[in-house]
Subunit: 338 residues, 2 copies
């Protein structure tokens, strides 16, 4: 491996608002050598996910920001190419958190050996962090009951599409919201949502009200913004809102002027006994990951849960693909093949 | 009783913003006679509570609004003065929901016979709806653990004072917020809060931060407004916020202009895995009222929970006392003696 060159994408500077290609920089270095107890990993697939926008900022968050000049973080599927670790052998395929780079060292902590019978990219999507986010948030916080109405936005993405399909497996109605006719068609035809709505429609709020004649029992929030405004008046007494993401406001910066929407939200929380609960999937990993792999693995195998991947080639294309992701440009789980 | 005159306070018109004495009207009528299966109740004590402000409005809420011209609703302690109901005898003291009037009929539904050994007014306060609100909301949603920090505003009121005392019984630190030096002294000396803070202090937010060096684990919300703004940055990961009331915004009307505080709140909910959960105590009555009466009755008897009542004489003074309640003018549970 010593003749190879490592390539990595580092955070060049912190974005203000929408990230720009110049916020990233492609760097080269030599491939490192594993020490005793380490493995050298060659990354085959890199996952691109909305949470990475948060890591680019230094605002207080649940995780440390990426330092300026450091390699962008991210989940990866990697091959062990050299091992000085007793548990891993050359050729093993593992899930790792190696970030936006071709080669990485690991002391084995946080690695998970992948089942060679499954497509490796599923470990980054439907059977990985996004799928587990949907599973744990929907079932632990949302707790949909048969006949209830579950609404999810960004519904064609890897989290939203799993939310809708799991909701239906649990006997609930699934209403999916996405941007544009193509994504809405996908929701109906590929993912089996009961209703698909385009949030860009001028009468979107009215369409949502019509699609939810019995109100909304679970709103899986991963968008924020105008979709939330349309959802709020429809939430039923005792509705549950797992707050998983706010992609519509990730690129916002500065103070939000205009109407203060907080009093109306707090009044709704009070008068309709709503639950708003933020979560990061890692909270539930220890307790639920085994049951997730069993349930979701079974559903994927049986075809009850379908998934969609959007694979981009080349590490150098990761920044552009990521910027597009924040604007909803892709269809399905965004993965970079290295 | 037939020679007596009934008196009642009706809603004369719906208030816009702060209620005004002219929003109420004192009316007289003859005392009704109980039919078969009914009792005639003579109200001895009327409870005045912030939730009544909501009933005066016709905004969508968890309960029907009081109709214009109808008797104001409210919890009462009443004496059975004539009974044609098999379960009640003349002279029985009951908890009823007779509203702002001297006499009322009841078919027995919703009546609870009171223990004659306890002061009857406690059934409206520490051993009644306000005490149960504190108990059920704090223990079911707040779930304070030993060593955690519990913050409550309107802390000298019947709900807040019970929240603080139950938090301490459960091993948590209790930080109480109230308006003015006299109420703060009461929090420390009468109710045993660890810290008492005056929200009118110009450096209130800094004082709160200093009083919570390990952050806030439970914020029992019954105020809203500026107190919430000071609490939000201090909430710890996984903090719980039972939303029980928003007295600071009950009198608000129209759109709130200025900074939109919602994005910052949603971001905090997401990034710190917060739980915001609105509730009305009746949700928990069937399951928890017996344990409440046992626990809280024991704590009151042992002196571990203390209470304070502010008794006003005369039904005609109820409107003025209620208006004062919304402005924090009273000390302790506000009760009208008829």
């Amino acid at each position: 491996m010593s003749q190879s060159i490592n390539q990595r994408v580092v955070l060049a500077k912190r974005p203000v608002g929408r990230p720009d290609p110049n916020d990233f920089r492609l760097e080269q270095s030599s491939v490192p050598s594993p020490g005793e107890g380490e493995v050298l990993l060659k990354v085959e697939y890199l996952s691109l996910d909305p949470y990475m926008r948060g890591r680019m900022s230094d605002a207080k968050s649940y995780a440390e920001p990426v330092a300026v000049g450091a390699t962008m973080v991210g989940g990866t599927v990697a091959r062990v190419v050299e091992s000085r670790h007793p548990d891993y052998a050359e050729g093993d395929l593992v899930l790792s958190y190696s970030g936006w780079q071709r080669y990485a060292l690991s002391d084995g902590s946080g690695l998970r050996r992948l089942d060679p019978k499954l497509p490796p990219t599923t470990a980054l999507g439907v059977l990985g962090m996004p799928g587990f986010t949907a599973y744990s948030g929907l079932l632990t916080i949302g707790r949909p009951r048969p006949g209830e109405t579950v609404v999810v936005a960004a519904a064609s993405g890897p989290v939203g599409s799993a939310v809708g399909q799991i909701a239906r497996i649990k006997g609930a109605r699934a209403v999916g919201i996405a941007g544009g006719a193509e994504k809405c068609r996908l929701l109906r035809e590929h993912f089996g949502f009961d209703v698909a709505l385009d949030h860009r429609a001028p009468d979107f709020a009215a369409q949502l009200a019509q699609a939810c004649p019995d109100g909304i029992d679970v709103y899986f929030e991963n968008v924020g913004g105008k979709v939330w405004d349309a959802v709020l008046p429809l939430l039923n007494e005792f509705a549950r809102v797992p707050v998983c993401g706010l992609i519509a406001q990730y690129n916002a910066h500065g103070r939000a002027e205009g109407e203060d929407r907080l009093p109306a939200v707090m009044y709704a929380v009070l008068s309709r006994s709503l639950t708003l609960r933020g979560f990061i999937q890692r909270e539930f990993v220890a307790e639920q990951f085994p049951s997730f792999l069993r349930d979701m693995g079974g559903w994927v195998e049986s075809g009850e849960v379908r998934y969609l991947e959007d694979v981009v080639d080349g590490l150098e294309n990761a920044p552009g693909a990521f910027i597009g992701l924040l604007e909803g440009a892709n269809l399905g789980k965004l993965i970079v093949r290295l």
